[in-house]
Symmetry: D2
Subunit: 150 residues, 4 copies
């Protein structure tokens, strides 16, 4: 792929990331930050707060899943083709604790036709793996940026 095409795809991914993040209620509610986005890739962070804990006083698996699923959404929408999750699988090798700084890194590992597969790894501040997530996506009609006015 020529240099200018690579640059164009990267600009598109960044525009999609900004656009998605603006209207992303859940990321704002949970303090999720979009650190990086590239075609088929996204990296997000989240700090574990007390209101994310379950009754064992550990990070609720649903919060870990939400972070991973959000990274998945950014990675698979990064081509500006609206994509939705059809199914996901998550494994929890370890658990998170209050105050942990988590990073979710999403890599689209397969895309054929409109169906994709994306792997997300969630790690804590020590680099320990908290969750391994795999999501299946399906591209729909429409684009993320289409509704943009400016």
């Amino acid at each position: 792929m020529p240099e200018h095409a690579i640059r164009a795809r990267q600009h598109l991914a960044e525009a999609v990331g900004r656009r998605m993040y603006e209207r992303d209620h859940i990321s704002h509610a949970l303090g999720i930050t979009l650190e990086a986005i590239r075609p088929g890739y996204a990296r997000l962070t989240m700090r574990v707060r007390q209101d994310m804990l379950n009754s064992h006083q550990l990070l609720h698996g649903g919060m870990t899943f939400t972070l991973a699923d959000t990274a998945f959404a950014y990675a698979c929408n990064s081509h500006d083709r609206t994509a939705v999750a059809t199914g996901c699988n998550i494994v929890f090798p370890a658990t998170g604790h209050e105050g942990d700084q988590l990073t979710a890194e999403a890599v689209e590992c397969h895309l054929s036709g409109r169906s994709g597969v994306c792997d997300v790894t969630v790690t804590n501040q020590k680099g320990e793996v908290i969750a391994l997530f795999r999501g299946q996506s399906r591209q729909m009609q429409g684009t993320v940026l289409a509704g943009e006015d400016d």
Copy 2:
């Protein structure tokens, strides 16, 4: 099983449910209500709020997962043996919208030794299936009620 043993197990499940719910930060933050708990069973509800929406203005899959995963936790801790999720799988046949009243019904469909499998169905107010969740659990040392003083 004799009647009194059934009743004892039911009382235990209810005590576990109350105890878990008291300290369950995430359920309180998301407005999740514990409607019913029985040995190997739990039913919870949640109303979809604006801060649970993703950038497509649809219910974030992570919130659906969190509701399902919470129902799973109540069902598989209902025997008062502390249990944790080791892996989960979720399929999203439909999506949720702001204002929807969701119900998650968790049924422990297998328990052998310390390993269990629990199925959760999430439906909306029309009875449409929003998510099918399957979780694998593993019982740990300890009980939910052990720490209780009163």
Copy 3:
């Protein structure tokens, strides 16, 4: 649904079952028998042979999966709309041994538009659960019986 429509759907399912089984190389190779088929349902059996064992001399998980996946295929093609698996999840609560008589029971638990979800339970001759399988299907163009001449 009126009685005659129910009967028509049942006849269709049975015709699909016969047609699929005729050309089903793998079922013949493994000695899988189709015991029952109804709309959205199938029950198959298989006896565990020595050539199905892994190096631990236990039933290979792939053989258990194959039996479950076959039951899934019959159940989700039973409407005579060609359907394929897009993803599957399997949990192994126990293992199989040489000589075991296994039964796989597949129930289509959700079908909306062209996407379906089907649960399969594999049990041994004592009724013990060997595997819990969940498959996602997608209906394609075409029917199972279309190619039939007679």
Copy 4:
């Protein structure tokens, strides 16, 4: 890790591979070949035969799963600690056809305590991805080589 320790672990993995393969009924029945084994890694191949086809005359998903699951087994037993699968997830981005030469590459991507996660990619002779498999393993008491006499 010093050079000699790396070499020792590699020799152990190869001994485990040979030992497992000798008694691996299913691999012999399906013509599966063990091409390479390293600590936490295995690569196996299989040619698609007519008796591996389903009623659509395509490679049965169960055969793809069996190849992937076998690669998984070699990779997670390669440390000579007996390990079994507790659950697996598979996605089928494409399908296989009679005569295809398939390669399954298994990489143990996580191991903490006795629990591991292993990813397997199955490709055909053109390098197209046929399946993405993720397995969870649990190490048991005992070793693969313990029973060896010679």
